[in-house]
């Protein structure tokens, strides 16, 4: 009897958890077969960063294309495949797996649901109905690095990531190269938090780097990265660069700028292809020239950046947009 009572508790709990973590599919008006789009994120969409941008992309698809949308925050990698299958079985037209880590699950699931197109963000695995959506973070990270290298008073700067995913590492190496261009003797500290949601640990990693002299920190750790801003705020003369979403408003008093991916723009581009029937499985690379990634400086802080530094950054940015220079070319040591 206790067991039966208990299973009721468990079921209620799971039902509540599901309700809390996902939006029920909403009907898209009177269309007979609504265009349905789903999103799997690796963390909460309230992180002001990677996942928030994806959720805004999903909302943009709903508003611009009249799609019915649904999203799930996956808890563990074991959920990736189940959640993909769930949407495949419901014949969603397009499913985003928002992160490099979704690729294996997507590759396994895609052949079973040929009527659903699968897209993994920052992935490079492809199939007939499977595409990777890759962002060139290297260029804007390089520009941020140039500013960091020029701004550091101590000659020590830091990068803090959630885990060492290849796109994150690539962005950090580009940041380092940019910093070296501005200051050949700069020292770069690298720390990884080990997860993407422990804000206190993010703060501690930053405080440890600050204690070692780091005075400009570039973070890419989603919700955990919020702790990096907090650490900078509590320390004197420490600046932060944010990433993924425009994080300049998170801590306007210490944030020099953000390496922003316009995820809504990118998501809408892909969804439009799927809706029009022009989608092909391939690696879709989007960068600065596509207006999808950019370094967005914090207007409240630009006065702190010396004018010659801004001029140099602008000229390198112009070179990048012309195709005359790419930070990726400076990243020889980074494996794919």
């Amino acid at each position: 009897m206790n067991k039966r009572r208990f299973s009721i508790i468990i079921n209620t709990t799971i039902a509540l958890a599901v309700v809390a973590c996902s939006d029920a599919p909403k009907s898209a008006g009177a269309a007979a077969t609504p265009f349905r789009v789903a999103l799997l994120t690796p963390g909460p969409v309230s992180d002001h960063s990677w996942n928030a941008g994806a959720y805004e992309g999903l909302l943009r698809i709903r508003d611009s294309l009249g799609a019915a949308i649904s999203n799930i925050e996956t808890k563990t990698p074991a959920d990736f495949e189940d959640n993909f299958r769930q949407y495949g079985a419901q014949a969603y037209r397009l499913v985003f797996g928002h992160g490099f880590e979704f690729q294996d699950a997507a590759r396994r699931v895609a052949p079973d649901y040929p009527n659903t197109d699968f897209v993994t963000t920052s992935g490079n695995t492809t199939g007939p109905n499977l595409a990777g959506l890759e962002f060139d973070l290297a260029n804007p990270s390089y520009l941020a690095g140039m500013i960091a290298g020029a701004m550091t008073r101590t000659g020590v700067i830091g990068v803090i990531g959630g885990t060492e995913l290849p796109p994150v590492r690539k962005s950090f190496v580009a940041f380092e190269q940019g910093a070296r261009r501005a200051n050949p003797h700069v020292r770069v500290l690298t720390s990884y938090i080990g997860n993407w949601d422990d804000v206190s640990a993010g703060r501690e990693q930053a405080l440890a780097q600050i204690a070692r002299g780091a005075d400009v920190i570039f973070q890419n750790a989603d919700a955990a990265g919020l702790g990096v801003f907090q650490a900078a705020r509590q320390s004197a003369h420490v600046y932060v660069f944010g990433s993924n979403s425009n994080q300049n408003d998170v801590a306007p008093d210490v944030t020099l700028g953000s390496v922003v991916i316009d995820l809504p723009h990118a998501f809408l581009t892909v969804a439009r292809e799927v809706k029009d029937g022009t989608f092909r499985g391939r690696v879709i690379s989007l960068g600065m020239t596509d207006d999808v990634v950019s370094l967005v400086l914090n207007p409240a802080m630009t006065s702190r950046i010396p004018a010659p530094v801004l001029t140099t950054v602008d000229s390198v940015r112009a070179q990048m947009l012309r195709g005359a220079f790419s930070a990726v070319d400076t990243l020889a040591p980074v494996a794919p």
Binding site: I9, A17, A20, P44, D198, Q230
Partner: protein, 300 residues
């Protein structure tokens, strides 16, 4: 390696663990394995976030205590009154807390949240003690709630071993029949232990938000409640033991931060293992202890 940052990071990392582990100790000595502790921590974190606005910092901490206690009451209802399985109830309570905190946070702040900047507790410097070279400022130039955590261990020791109620609580955890024969009502005592214990877990969540992060993120408890449960085992169910256990884990975690910031060419995954590795070693070499006889049993 600089000592000061290491000591300071150790203290900051240990305090939330110590509060949560102290709560778990109370609960386990009464025979309830409170897996819901992780849920109490995240509930406390959100309650502190919501409470600090209207009621200030003290109100935020009070809200965190209350939210933790609410999770504890839920545990008490199912474990003590319904006599459901403790491990399943605790797991359900934690999952429920994660779901509810996420839903409430988004209900209040919108689906993608807002960049919350909450007031955080200013350090309260204790004269003389804070001047001790090396560890003084790390230990005694901290938010007031930290001093409460330091006092928790002596208070728990005094309560468990020097008061009637403490004796009764331990008796209930070992032999409810004997306790019953002595006229002790096991149920209310167990319910109180898990409620107060969870309230301390909630306070740990409040510390994460109001003394450290200055913001809320879903899932920011990041397993601290579960680690606190491990610390109680590591500490062999004694107040002094859990203090040592919390310190082992806290210092090892702080070393992990400092080692990464040294810029040595070590794979970060190996460095991140450090706290867990040291905790396992400590578990191997710590003296034997016996769990309360009624721990995790529902046939009380």
């Amino acid at each position: 390696m600089a000592v000061d940052p290491l000591v300071a990071a150790s203290v900051r990392t240990t305090v939330p663990l110590l509060l949560a582990a102290g709560g778990e100790l109370l609960s386990e000595r009464a025979g309830i394995l409170n897996i819901g502790l992780e849920g109490a921590v995240i509930a406390g974190a959100l309650a502190a976030t919501l409470g600090v606005g209207p009621w200030g910092l003290a109100g935020g901490y009070a809200a965190a205590l209350c939210a933790g206690a609410a999770v504890g009451l839920l545990m008490a209802l199912f474990v003590v009154v319904v006599r459901a399985d403790q491990i399943l109830t605790g797991t359900a309570a934690t999952l429920l807390a994660f779901g509810v905190t996420g839903a409430v946070y988004r209900g209040v702040y919108g689906a993608t949240g807002v960049a919350l900047t909450l007031p955080t507790s200013a350090p309260f410097r204790i004269p003389v003690l804070a001047a001790i070279p090396g560890v003084g400022s790390a230990l005694f130039d901290q938010p007031a709630v930290f001093y409460l955590a330091y006092l928790l261990i002596p208070i728990l020791w005094w309560f468990l071993y020097r008061t009637q109620v403490g004796l009764a609580l331990r008796a209930v955890g070992e032999s409810p029949a004997a306790a019953g024969a002595a006229g002790i009502a096991a149920g209310p005592l167990r319910a109180a232990a898990v409620t107060v214990g969870s309230a301390l877990g909630g306070l740990a969540g409040g510390v994460l938000v109001l003394a450290q992060a200055g913001t809320f993120a879903e899932g920011m408890s990041a397993g601290r409640g579960f680690i606190a449960i491990a610390i109680v085992v590591l500490g062999r169910w004694t107040p002094l033991g859990i203090m040592i256990g919390a310190l082992v884990f806290g210092v090892a975690t702080a070393m992990q931060y400092v080692v990464q910031a040294m810029g040595w060419p070590i794979r970060y995954e190996l460095v991140l293992m450090l706290p867990y590795l040291l905790t396992l070693l400590a578990l191997m070499f710590s003296p034997r202890g016996v769990a309360p006889a009624m721990l995790a049993r529902s046939d009380v």
